[in-house]
């Protein structure tokens, strides 16, 4: 390809990217850059004026007794959902790939909850917890207990998202060569040994994808607790995103809320990058 043609080809590629780039810049990048400035002010979110206050918001965030509560709730939710979704999805996918009757129907059924929006899911489970649990099983709703509320909210995610993770694991399973498993069986390996030493290592790319996805979803969870409990009872299910939202709006501390959002951005990027890097390393070693 001549230099001119190469240049035209690159320009064509760029033109295809341009609309998406413009939208991204206008809707996300520029507002974000503007918002970074707010993090270093005492803006209340309503007034027409504000003052620059340097690192006051940052130091206050680390002194704030409520920060730890929000971090604790977020981490608890993330661990439950990230671990839960992945184990459940993997187990069900492997189970349904064992040529059991009705496997296709069951796969579709498991995927169905993903159609519901996060808000609808929270409403559905709010009613299930509120009406079905106490009346049919004599079990109180977990959403009104400070000790069980995060677990109750995490259940919503497990119900809705397991199907999506199953799709990813199912695609991974299809790529595992049958002859490898056959060879293990010929060598006398039982089902568990074959899964653990042959199938599972081959699923490493799918594990990387799923763990990273649900780690990210968990760390920035907002919808479920917002709709189901509004962060309550009290602040028992206040996640970091709700903490940011409340400071930005309810508490009239937009500058402080924005600083919390910035810190969260750095933490989420840092954690997900580190985990992804560690998981990718495992893929290479395999």
């Amino acid at each position: 390809m001549t230099g001119k043609r190469k240049w035209i080809s690159r320009l064509t590629d760029f033109i295809f990217l341009l609309p998406a780039f413009v939208i991204f810049a206008a809707v996300i990048a520029i507002p974000f850059i503007q918002a970074v400035g707010i993090a270093f002010t005492n803006w209340d979110g309503l007034s027409k004026t504000y003052q620059f206050n340097g690192l006051t918001n940052l130091t206050a965030l680390f002194r704030d007794a409520q920060t730890a509560n929000a971090v604790k709730n977020t981490m608890l939710y993330t661990v439950i959902t990230c671990v839960g979704v992945n184990i459940l999805a993997l187990a069900i996918t492997v189970g349904l790939n064992s040529n059991i009757r009705g496997a296709r129907f069951l796969k579709s059924a498991m995927f169905a909850p993903i159609i519901a929006s996060l808000v609808i899911t929270a409403f559905i489970w709010g009613r299930i917890y509120g009406d079905v649990f106490p009346v049919n099983f004599g079990v109180p709703t977990p959403l009104t207990n400070t000790k069980t509320v995060v677990m109750g909210i995490a259940m919503m995610c497990l119900w809705r998202d397991t199907g999506l993770a199953m799709v990813i694991y199912n695609a991974g399973l299809q790529s595992v060569p049958e002859e490898l498993k056959e060879a293990a069986r010929v060598d006398g390996a039982n089902a568990w040994y074959t899964f653990w030493h042959v199938t599972f290592p081959m699923l490493a790319p799918a594990v990387t994808t799923c763990v990273t996805l649900w780690l990210g979803y968990g760390l920035k969870v907002f919808d479920y607790p917002k709709v189901a409990t509004n962060g309550g009872p009290g602040k028992a299910s206040e996640t970091f995103c709700i903490f940011v939202y409340n400071h930005f709006f309810s508490n009239n501390r937009a500058g402080y809320g924005q600083m919390a959002a910035l810190v969260m951005l750095i933490a989420v990027v840092g954690i997900t990058s580190a985990v992804t890097k560690a998981l990718r390393k495992r893929e290479v070693q395999m």
Binding site: F24, I28, P31, F32, Q34, A35, D44, G45, S47, K48, T49, N53, T56, N57, A60, L61, D64, A65, Y129, G130, D131, F133, P134, V135, G138, V139, P140, T141, L143, T144, T146, G216, K220, N230, G232, P233, G234, K235, A236, C241, V244, Y245, N246, F248, F249, S250, N251, N252, R253, A254, Y256, G257, Q258, A261, L265, V268, V269, T272, S273, T276
Partner: protein
């Protein structure tokens, strides 16, 4: 390169989360805000119908009235107004109260503030301070308007709200069930009287109090109501003193009794089973209306929904209403009262003249009648009574006249202080901690807000 692209994509995904938190509008102006009075003076009522132009105008009325009667009332008010001013439509939008003010602030940030907002100055002094609410001229209000309402809707002598009705909160009771357990409704005018009635009802197998505490606001009014009548009358600067740190919660020993009482009302006598823990305010009205609970702590606004539930269930029991006593001294117990359903006009409304016309219309006898007939609430206009008044109206008006305390004449809690007051209390009740611990937690929360620059 691959790593860089991956990092960029990851950062882009996370940015989508944070972009919504940024200011979508213009950068805030650098000049100092004008004081409300200086900004535009007080808006006077337009005189007569001919002041509006013929241009088609649509006003937005953002409200949080969940009761069916009130929602019907709003529709009827808007229809009557449109009949009078055919070129002005009013679009009524409902938002849940629990997140109402956040949604409003988001709209303000997006330069999309509604013309009319169903909130009171006491609840959101920050909106007034930020100059977002139009000050109103006294000439907008007729002579027959309840002056307690006007004072409740004013800050520093400037009126900001238009009252549709006057109300308060107290105990609804089922006369038949109280009679069955030998409780005289008169005894409900003291705290011991209420607790004694609850014990007798429970012992006889009744549910003492209807529950709606899966939602936050029905429990907020439990603790707020007791504070408004128990501590505020003697300490009008209670909230400003607590926010500034000049006083601490332990300076008010009444809080111990109040928290203990509130915890008992909700924890022991309302949430009597697993099902009750998950009930919403609408369930609470229905529970009482059906006769499934003997009493209910709620506001005068609930009456229309109670009647709907009562009629649907074919329940023929008689109901009564009394004050919400905070102490054992009947003479110091009042009904916490306010200009319940009120609205304010956005200063940045693009249709200010038409908004004022709507406010002026709401202050007419015609509108008062429409509102009181549909909502079952007590009109803020004296002498305006519903055609077919609910029997409970007699109790409401008598209590308002003799035993009401209009707490919103005093400065209220703002921002995070308001949020944490309710949240700390509720979390404490749910976790089953003692009143002493709740008070400690309140103090820690307020100290924390101040320490972090709130």
């Amino acid at each position: 390169m691959k790593k860089l692209v991956s990092l960029f994509l990851a950062a882009a995904m996370v940015l989508t989360l944070l972009a919504g938190c940024g200011s979508g509008g213009e950068a805030p102006a650098s000049e100092a805000p004008e004081s409300n009075a200086e900004a535009s003076g007080s808006a006077e009522a337009p005189s007569g119908e001919d002041t509006s132009s013929d241009e088609e105008v649509t006003l937005t009325f953002l409200h949080h009235m969940g009761e069916q009667g009130k929602q019907d009332g709003l529709v009827k008010l808007v229809e009557a107004f449109h009949e009078k001013y055919p070129n002005i439509n009013v679009e009524v939008e409902f938002l849940s109260r629990d997140d109402f003010i956040n949604q409003y602030k988001q709209r303000v940030s997006a330069d999309n503030a509604p013309d009319l907002i169903n909130y009171r100055p006491f609840e959101t002094p920050e909106l007034i301070e930020a100059g977002l609410i139009e000050p109103l001229d006294a000439s907008l209000f007729p002579e027959g308007i309840d002056q307690n309402c006007i004072k409740s809707l004013s800050i520093d002598g400037v009126i900001y709200g238009v009252p549709l009705d006057v109300g308060g909160y107290g105990f609804y009771y089922n006369k038949n069930q109280l009679e069955a357990v030998g409780v005289d409704p008169e005894s409900l005018n003291t705290r011991s009287g209420v607790l004694d009635a609850c014990e007798k009802l429970m012992a006889a197998g009744y549910t003492p109090l209807a529950s709606g505490y899966a939602e936050q606001w029905p429990e907020n009014i439990i603790i707020e109501g007791l504070t408004y009548t128990g501590i505020l009358p003697e300490n009008p600067t209670l909230f400003t003193d607590l926010m500034s740190g000049e006083k601490s919660f332990s300076d008010y020993p009444e809080f111990l009794e109040i928290v203990d009482y509130g915890q008992k009302l909700v924890g022991t006598y309302s949430i009597v089973d697993n099902k009750a823990a998950s009930q919403q305010a609408s369930d609470q009205y229905a529970q009482f209306g059906r006769g499934d609970a003997a009493m209910m702590m709620q506001g005068t606004w609930a009456v229309s929904d109670i009647r709907i539930a009562q009629e649907a269930a074919g329940n023929t029991d008689e109901f009564g209403f009394t004050i919400y006593p905070w102490s054992d001294d009947a003479n110091s117990n009042y009904m916490p009262a306010n200009a319940d359903d009120s609205f304010m006009i956005s200063k940045d409304s693009k249709h200010k003249e038409e908004s004022l016309l709507f406010a002026e219309f709401c202050m007419t006898e015609e509108a008062g009648k429409i509102w009181t007939n549909a909502s079952g609430c007590i009109s803020a206009l004296s002498g305006v009574m519903p055609d077919d008044a609910d029997p409970l109206m007699e109790y409401f008006t008598a209590t308002l006249a003799d035993h009401a305390y209009f707490f919103e004449m005093n400065p209220g809690l703002a921002g995070q202080y308001y949020q944490d007051f309710d949240k700390v209390y509720i979390e404490g009740r749910v976790a089953g901690i003692t009143p002493e611990e709740v008070i400690e937690n309140w103090q820690s929360a307020y100290d924390n807000i101040r320490a972090t620059g709130g």
